[in-house]
Symmetry: C2
Subunit: 255 residues, 2 copies
DNA sequence: ATTCTAGCTTTGTCGGACAAATCCAGAATA
DNA sequence: TATTCTGGATTTGTCCGACAAAGCTAGAAT
């Protein structure tokens, strides 16, 4: 017969985890504001009463989580996690789960449509200017798939930004990171691919300027359908996202 | 006059980062499959030729990134990053960026609608069964806001799962993690809140069974509008997501 | 006032150490 | 023979101390 349960489970989290949690709590609760210094490793050693190796393991956890960063002089600061850094983690997860382009396409269709919708409603003059600038640069490289693909990705990031909805901005990022690298391949394979892409962007910007939801939705659909048609010339939508995209994400993270 | 650039930039990433990158590459490239052991710290020390402290810092990075895990016996294994663990990171980021409930609501509206859409098109019998089970349990706790809120969150996760779209599943999670904790408060404050919630779920499940897109879209809107009305009785939609939600996410992560 | 320099600090890495938990294989037992 | 026990070997989590390289700082030199 088991004894009555006098004791509750005791916390046996390793020390480095407790260090990480403690610092995380201070940051998330706002007691340490983004940008503020965390202190040197030596100080943390003294405050927590653990060894420096232990502190350092805790620091790595927070660093990877994007909550703290080292500045130019390697000192620790709290910081706002950057979306695209986090999104890279997610993209990696999607790759490992071997999601298909069909899933990617469907999700992106929804997310991009919502972004445009938001942009049409709430884009500021500054947003429009950024988009216009991007469009102008795109027009100059219509014939250069690599450059155009990069600008295309940027264009859609700017649209998400113009939606003024950071949740949407974050939600679309992982899919976009996997989605847009294909653009380069596709633009080259479809007749007038570059021109069609730029034209779609032009209409999207125009829709935003005129706050015309209909046009925004229409050209989003067309733009993505173009992608889809192009993609299907290369491969089946049911192909899973390939490992090569990780190379891409990898390279991007280093920058 | 500067000399001709004979040399390219040399890589000065710290050793622990190189260790992490090296292991990550093997996993992402598929040379180490999820579930397979990574080896002991000692083995890694020998393979990389660095100190154990260095290896351990690298391990922390990968652990936090969700790429490796320790099993019950604390041995290291590669693993598929779990969505809700990653999503917790994102939720935390959203909190720190002080996103508003309006952003959360708008994004969720889009994402939940897309999930239902997908579920209506592609839900399997197993999905339907899970949803039916959830509904049944929900009906038993209509009067218990806390229990109902939890089941509501689960219901929507199940719907996303039924959409068979993992990108969508992942994209909706961060917003959902912040969105659904409010349900508990709201259900209590709106007349017949619990009953309305369960009714909406019933109609959603029904729409999925009948593969009726219209009904699915309609009841998603109603369901979320109910949330919105309830929320606005408590606070403005322009309130930023509060720090208290982190407590929630925090507690959940421990489980 | 500006530049230089020599120390002080901090980080990244290393080697070694030890207790606690876990694993494993051979011994003892039913 | 199958199961349980047990003691040693591994492995992890933590600690201590050390050192080179890079960054910072304050006083010296110009």
């Amino acid at each position: 017969m088991p004894t009555a349960p006098f004791f509750r489970r005791i916390d046996v989290a390793p020390a480095y985890q407790k260090v990480a949690d403690a610092i995380e709590r201070e940051i998330v609760n706002g007691r340490i504001k983004p940008g503020e210094p965390i202190g040197t490793e030596q100080e943390l050693v003294q405050q927590f009463g653990v060894n420096r190796s232990t502190v350092r393991e805790g620091i790595r956890v927070l660093e990877e989580g994007g909550l703290i960063q080292r500045d130019s002089s390697r000192r620790l600061h709290a910081c706002l996690p950057r979306y695209n850094k986090l999104a890279t983690r997610l993209s990696r997860a999607l790759v490992l789960h071997e999601v298909t382009f069909r899933e990617l396409f469907e999700a992106s269709m929804t997310l991009e449509a919502a972004s445009i919708q938001g942009a049409v409603e709430r884009a500021t003059d500054a947003n429009v200017a950024e988009l216009a600038d991007n469009l102008e640069r795109s027009e100059k490289v219509v014939a250069d798939p690599a450059a155009l693909a990069e600008l295309d990705a940027e264009f859609h990031v700017l649209i998400a930004k113009a939606s003024q909805n950071r949740v949407l901005q974050l939600a679309r990022e992982p899919a976009a990171q996997l989605f847009f690298p294909t653009t380069e391949m596709i633009v080259g394979r479809i007749a007038e691919g570059g021109a069609r892409l730029v034209e779609a962007h032009r209409h999207l910007l125009d829709a935003i300027k005129r706050r015309d939801k209909e046009a925004g939705a229409l050209w989003t659909r067309r733009h993505l359908q173009d992608w889809r048609r192009g993609f299907e010339k290369i491969a089946s939508l049911d192909r899973s996202v390939e490992h090569m995209y990780m190379e891409h994400a990898h390279a991007a993270r280093r920058r």
